[in-house]
């Protein structure tokens, strides 16, 4: 993977958004944002209602994902272009999710909704309805998804990257500062994890930084590119952004997103937790 195969620019979207075989999809944390205005032709996926199981804490399964995309009119060979608010956090999460279920051609709009809005590009509230398709998701690719036991075994062995804000890492906050304080039972981070906030990988306008800057960022923070890497945050969406940077832009192999993330780890009985600004010992 590379920047060229994973990212598209706003100009590219303007040029190709009406092409056959191109499907624009907006994915937001604020699920009302799409209804107020979206890029012409874009459909919406709700990261919670559409992509999470309604009862268990997990994804929708292969059959549910197939049914969802069939109903929304996405074909297996479509070029899916994802974008959203919050610097593409949830769009990157959806990107990871599409890759998990084996969709071949997925792209992220660089800068997402923010860059688009700051450029004063057009948004519309026009309702979009695509004809139903017969979408067939593949078996989930667990090469890019980490579970808790694997994370426990990775302490002191693999690169662990905590992409939350420094205050969340240190245990001074439990959640991002624009959300009320809630979630995990304990604050802190997984011992040995490097603190590399997702935001360091992005410019103020939400676009990704240049490849050489990104490599330097992770190397300087202690990521050994010769080792496997697991990224985590609070619920797996910001770490999907970092997974995207490492795996899709920089082309690193063996990078996983731990979507259980801090809400799971900080509530597990008996696992090690480190407090403060230092990574801590294995």
């Amino acid at each position: 993977m590379s920047r060229e195969s994973a990212l598209v620019s706003a100009d590219w979207v303007e040029e190709h958004k009406s092409d056959d075989g191109v499907v624009l999809i907006e994915v937001d944390e604020d699920v009302s944002a799409y209804d107020a205005g979206h890029i012409a032709g874009a459909i919406k996926l709700d990261w919670k209602d559409d992509l999470q199981d309604a009862v268990r804490r997990d994804f929708v399964n292969q059959e549910q994902f197939s049914a969802l995309l069939s109903e929304r009119g996405v074909k297996n060979d479509d070029t899916v272009v994802l974008y959203g608010g919050n610097n593409n956090w949830f769009a990157a999460y959806a990107y990871w999710y599409f890759k998990l279920y084996g969709h071949e051609d997925v792209r992220l709009l660089d800068g997402g909704r923010k860059r688009w809005e700051l450029d004063s590009r057009e948004l519309t509230d026009e309702v979009v309805k695509r004809d139903a398709t017969e979408y067939a998701a593949k078996e989930p690719n667990l090469e890019i998804r980490a579970f808790r036991d694997e994370v426990l075994e990775a302490i002191g062995v693999k690169n662990l990257v905590d992409v939350r804000s420094p205050d969340e890492y240190a245990g001074r906050l439990l959640a991002p500062a624009h959300l009320p304080q809630e979630q995990a039972q304990r604050a802190g981070h997984i011992p040995t994890a490097a603190s590399i906030p997702w935001s360091k990988a992005a410019n103020d306008d939400g676009t990704f930084r240049a490849d050489d800057e990104l490599k330097t960022l992770y190397a300087d923070a202690g990521v050994d590119f010769g080792k496997d890497t697991i990224a985590y945050c609070r619920i797996g969406e910001r770490s999907a952004h970092t997974w995207f940077v490492l795996h899709e832009i920089l082309g690193q192999e063996n990078v996983k997103n731990y979507d259980g993330s801090w809400t799971e780890w900080g509530s597990l009985v008996g696992v090690p937790v480190a407090l403060g600004d230092e990574p801590g010992k294995a």
Binding site: N86, S165, D167, A177, H178, Q181, S199
Partner: protein, 98 residues
């Protein structure tokens, strides 16, 4: 957002004794700017959170006590930085003009 009270957003349902709230409004002249982006940076300049403003230009953060910088990005305007101090039991109100 339509029910915003004078001086800022309605705080109904927010326990201000337990939260260090930073909130305010982005204005261009006297006009509220909806769809601007307000970033909350910590005392070292590190990004902590970001919200788009509402149609009435309002924004709100639940921060930790301490010194923060608000960086506002709006269409056709240069970024604007404002310093603010947050503490439990107080609502820090900030008006940002772009």
């Amino acid at each position: 957002m339509c029910g915003a009270t004078k001086g800022g957003l309605d705080l109904k349902g927010v326990d201000v004794d337990k939260e260090a709230v930073i909130q305010g409004q982005v204005l261009r002249g006297e006009e509220p700017v909806g769809g601007a982006y307000v970033r909350l940076l910590d005392s070292t300049g590190e990004f902590t959170a970001e919200v788009p403003t509402s149609a009435t230009g309002h924004f709100r953060f639940f921060a930790a006590p301490g010194s923060w910088t608000l960086r506002t990005l709006a269409p056709k305007a240069d970024p604007v930085d404002r310093q603010v101090v947050a503490q439990y039991g107080e609502v820090a109100e900030v008006a940002v003009t772009v």
